[in-house]
């Protein structure tokens, strides 16, 4: 099967007075039609940056795609003009963000914000757009959608706003949904509802999802495949069951050990020593080596490639794949 999204050797640099920070340091992954892929990692590992690069939403002044390619439906996105991106956004690729509280324009009613996109991308009349909008609000399980059309965002809860944003993102038939920590700002009970809603809705539409999160539990609940990011690299990827149960990369292992368990003996939480590296002066070789408990000499010298260790399971670690 042809991948819907294929990212190859993507490098994104942030330009600052202190020099260029290599925030994405050559990442590769593929996303297939209808697939639900989780992208996990610490803050600053480059998860959101990856999603923003796909949609051409990098801050124009100081971030550049230095190298690499982003293929969507076989079409190169890197180097597209703002106008070309506009035609893609909301229509073929959509995005929902972390903060539903501020993601809707406070000055306009819900109805006006949902119909605006429908009118823009589908060229339908105002009346048709309204019926469509109500249908979409109902589809994301908003009660009394007709009434919700006439309220302002501040009158809705965070969960309701995220539903509205999801309806907006999916309403024009996007094939790819980039969900950037869509539930992080919501409380736990609402989180599960929204995740289920995203999964059910995209399932029935056949939309692929790239779910960005730092929460491994969320990945376990919703994703089929997962890619783990560390400091601008993908260090491990594969089916969720493999990666979470039989992690191969020392970073993934350490992340999983840092999770609290409700069952089993009570013990102090394990944390990963050290901090996320400074992107202006990243460690040589494998960027994880200063924090890695099993690092060897060559981990300092050379960067390991992402190589297969089992079916569909890839790891970038000298100790795992390369000596096979």
């Amino acid at each position: 099967m042809e991948p819907l999204l294929k990212i190859k050797d993507l490098h994104v640099d942030f330009l600052s007075y202190a020099g260029a920070a290599h925030a994405l340091n050559g990442i590769d992954f593929e996303l297939f039609p209808g697939e639900f892929l989780g992208l996990v990692g610490e803050s600053g590992s480059g998860k959101s940056l990856t999603a923003n690069s796909v949609l051409g939403l990098l801050p124009r002044k100081n971030a550049v795609i230095a190298k690499g390619s982003i293929l969507f439906e076989g079409e190169e996105l890197v180097g597209k003009s703002e106008r070309e991106y506009q035609a893609l956004r909301g229509k073929k690729i959509s995005m929902v963000f972390q903060e539903p509280m501020n993601a809707l324009n406070p000055a306009f009613k819900i109805g006006s914000q949902v119909t605006e996109i429908l009118k823009l991308h589908q060229g339908v009349t105002a009346k048709k757009a309204r019926t469509e909008a109500v249908r979409w609000l109902a589809r994301v399980r908003i009660p009394h959608p007709e009434e919700i059309m006439n309220v302002y965002p501040f009158e809705l809860s965070g969960g309701m706003r995220q539903r509205v944003l999801l309806a907006m993102a999916l309403s024009c038939g996007s094939k790819l949904l980039l969900a950037d920590e869509p539930t992080t700002a919501l409380d736990v009970s609402i989180q599960a509802q929204i995740l289920r809603l995203i999964r059910d809705t995209t399932d029935s539409l056949g939309t692929s999802v790239l779910l960005i999160t730092h929460d491994l539990a969320v990945v376990a609940q919703t994703c089929q495949r997962v890619a783990v990011m560390y400091s601008g690299n993908i260090v491990e990827s594969g089916p969720v069951s493999n990666v979470l149960r039989l992690p191969r990369h020392p970073y993934t292992k350490a992340l999983l050990q840092a999770l609290p368990h409700l069952d089993g003996p009570i013990k102090a939480l394990q944390s990963i020593p050290g901090t996320v590296p400074n992107l202006l002066t990243p460690p040589s070789g494998c960027r994880f080596h200063p924090r890695c408990s099993v690092a060897e000499k060559r981990c300092q010298a050379d960067r390991p490639k992402l190589l297969s260790v089992a079916e569909n399971h890839y790891v970038a670690c000298w100790r795992e794949s390369h000596h096979v």
Partner: protein, 338 residues
Amino acid sequence: MNTSKFVAKRLGQLVLVLLGVTLVTFLVSHVVPGDPARMLIGQRADEQTLAAMRQALGLDKPVWIQYLNYLWGLIHGDLGTSIRTQRPVLNELLSFFPATVELTLFAMGFAVSIGILLGLLSATFRDTLTDHATRILAILGVSTPLFWLGLMALLLFYKYLGWLPGSGRLDPLINPPTHITGLYVVDSLISGDWIALKSSILHLVLPSLCLGYIQLATIARLVRASMIEVLELDYIKTASANGIPRSRIIYRHALRNALIPTVTIIGLTFGELLGGAILTETIFAWPGMGKFVVDSISFLDFPAIMGFTLVVATVYVLINMVVDLLYPLLDPQIKGVH
């Protein structure tokens, strides 16, 4: 609280504000050295005539009686009699009011439209040549003294280039249009008097541009700052991610929200211009309230000065009330929160 209650409350506050204003103006006018009675009858009049004049003006009574008399008159719509012209202050002010309103409206129209436009340009093309040019223009605006700007404009456009008239509201040879509103532009439009229309518009150009320039600068700077702030917000990113074109994001999604703080300033500006037209009216010999009050000041015509202050204060409070009533239309979150 509903709108009518809000208006009633504000009108109640207006009464208090005006009471305060009368107290201050009254006290100030009685502390300032100078005797209006003496001004009126001249330096050579004898003591007897002076005493008679003081009695006629009510200046012989204790100050607090004078103040109560003044308030009593105000309640009955009597702002006193102008010492200089010997006519009721209210009539005088009413006859000069339209000229000032017309000048202020034109200055405001200029300042608001161009100010918002420049602010938008500046924010959209942030840190480019357009932005720098606009900001320099704005800084010049807030730092140029009005009297200097007015004189330079007169020298250039009236004296040397001769493109625009330099004083008054109309050419002396043209009859004013039929009095309907007192605004010459409106009146001549209504009565179809095209000659008076052209002349009155030409006469408005220099004074209203000079008067509006400072406010234009303030508005441009404010719009720039709030646009830049709004453009960084999450909902702008949502709009971008949904494929809404940048131009539409700017003029629909961002501007609408950036205008909320601007409306406050526009309201204050209007009041400021009404009261602040004094310099402009003097430079351009514009027969408005400002010119009237300057003439009154040089004559120590206290009833006239106090009347003018009262009118400006009233307009100020009323405009701020209108601004507060406008907020819910711009920002739905304020609805019913007054």
